[in-house]
Amino acid sequence: MPADPSTTTSAPPAPGAPSTVARDLEAGLDALETAVEATRTPWWAATWRAFWPTAAALLVLLGLWQVLAASGIKPSYALPRPLDVWHTLVEATQDGSALRAATLSLQRGGLGFLASVVVGVALGTAMATLPLLRRALGPLVTGLQSLPSIAWVPAAIIWFQLSNAAIFTVVLLGAVPSIVNGLLAGVDQVPPLYLRVGRVLGASGWSRIRHVLLPAALPGFLGGLKQGWAFAWRSLMAAELITNTPRLGAGLGQLLNLGRDTSDMSLVIAAILLIFAVGILIELAVFTPLERRILHARGLTGLSGG
């Protein structure tokens, strides 16, 4: 660019200089001010760093268990050794009963959870947009949240007998309040400016809910979703433990009950471990990646490095 001689020593382009100068300046600023993405640590290193303390804690617990079982404080039928439980687990895995039970429970839990999300989001959205409805139902929903869902099992059995309907009723009543309250918490955290922008852009009614309110509430709502899953899973186990009939097929809760009926403590512990494992598996396989993706896409996490 032929810069004309200027009064200042640094010779900036005069007013009205070719617009390419301004464009270069702009592009330079953009380049300088754009955050540089740091290199990522490999996934296995990240996984190891995240999980070794948990793995160590588990080893310590196993050791304690082994010591207690070997000390003979309780008879072995009441407190089997870790190895006995391991054998039961292997056996149940080999004859397929563990996988069948886990799959069935997971299907019920997943279906119940999805139904709870649908109901919870519909109800939560209605309460978030209609203040009177929120004032009317808010305390009830919060109250329901603290009611142990096992309390619904007798009622569900009277209404629906020993059926899947009874199980799903308990799951829904257990999970929906958490999801509703999670959504409301997410909506309450939405920066008011986002809602103002939505109004300026002309979003109203359903388009406001769909394009502004719900996506803006999502990061806060994630906690509610996770809690909703935890409640759905717990409620399912409570329901399965009690609705015990061969017609329905054996889920993990029924497996647990079988252990109780046969006084097979190894089976009881094995079932507990399976219930625990499935809960963690869903957390790790579904919610952690989901959360990571949502927060990462919005720049709300340091996971990209830096």
């Binding site: 007013p15 009205g16 617009s19 301004a22 464009r23 300046l25 702009e26 592009a27 600023l29 953009d30 300088l32 001010e33 754009t34 955050a35 993405e37 400016l193 986002y194 103002r196 922008v197 109004r199 300026v200 852009l201 002309g202 979003a203 388009s207 394009h211 502004v212 996506p215 803006a216 999502l218 949502i294 896409a297 919005r298 720049g299 709300l300």
Partner: protein
């Protein structure tokens, strides 16, 4: 430099956009606004303001002059306690100090959302968003995530989103106040260029006198508590201006003196 007392006859715009209605895009008549009950002193007191098609008006005032409230009234986010606010058929676009882009959408998708809410059919949105990004010199930034962009880039995406609304008037509430001086300077050039290219009317709120003189065809000074129009200036300096220009500095000094006098009057 022409200095006129209010009420002043409205100015002919420098660039009357062809094919636009002669009706002004913004007309405020005796607009007063109170927060809460009317027994308390008004935030805005009997404001008369007409913005002509294609005109660039800067509203200048100290804190508490109700500049932002005035923009909210024009944008239709609030209704005035009394008086009338008339705007064109299309909803005015409003830009804030923060870009307020939606972080769950990419830069381009933010613009497409504005197009969608305006009723632009799906097939046309992508190309229009690309065109607007190109207008703000962000070609190829469609897929960029908002948090990856610098402050100036975000504000340019916000400008593109505001332009996507196709309102007759673009309302800007201190949009560059949070930017550093160099970036703000670039944004001034950008806004001037885009204003000239699009022929849009702009109402630009600021407390920065030089910025007002750098950008506006007309600078309107508001008093504080209550907000009243106390004086206005036309800015005869041709664009492109620079904030360092002698003429800009001279008029800024004059306006600043009035602004200071206005602020000092609140000491008593």
């Amino acid at each position: 430099m022409s200095v006129r007392e209010v009420p002043a006859p409205t100015l002919a715009p420098a660039r009357p956009a062809p094919g636009r209605p002669a009706r002004p895009p913004v007309r405020l008549t005796q607009v007063s606004h109170h927060f809460g009950d009317t027994t308390r002193p008004p935030v805005l007191d009997r404001i008369d303001l007409v913005v002509e098609p294609g005109e660039f008006v800067c509203l200048l005032g100290a804190s508490g002059c109700g500049k932002s409230t005035l923009l909210s009234l024009i944008a239709g986010l609030d209704s005035p306690t009394s008086g009338t606010v008339e705007v064109g058929a299309r909803r005015p676009a409003l830009m804030f100090q923060e870009p307020a882009l939606y972080p769950w959408l990419s830069a381009g998708r933010n613009i497409e959302l504005a197009l969608r809410l305006r009723g632009v059919p799906r097939a046309a949105r992508r190309a229009e968003a690309e065109r607007l990004l190109s207008l703000v010199h962000l070609d190829g930034a469609h897929a960029r995530r908002v948090h990856e962009l610098s402050g100036g880039m975000r504000q340019r995406v916000a400008l593109a989103r505001a332009l996507a609304q196709e309102g007759e008037v673009l309302l800007m509430d201190e949009p560059f106040a949070a930017l550093d001086a160099i970036t703000r300077d670039v944004m001034h050039s950008e806004l001037t260029r885009i204003w000239q290219e699009t022929g849009r009317s702009v109402v630009f709120v600021t407390h920065n006198v030089r910025e007002a003189v750098r950008l506006g065809q007309r600078v309107v000074l508001l008093s504080s508590r209550p907000g009243r129009i106390v004086r206005e200036w036309t800015v005869p300096i041709p664009q492109p201006r620079r904030i360092e220009d002698q003429a800009v500095a001279e008029l800024s000094v004059e306006i600043t003196d009035h602004l200071r006098a206005e602020i000092a009057s609140h000491a008593r």
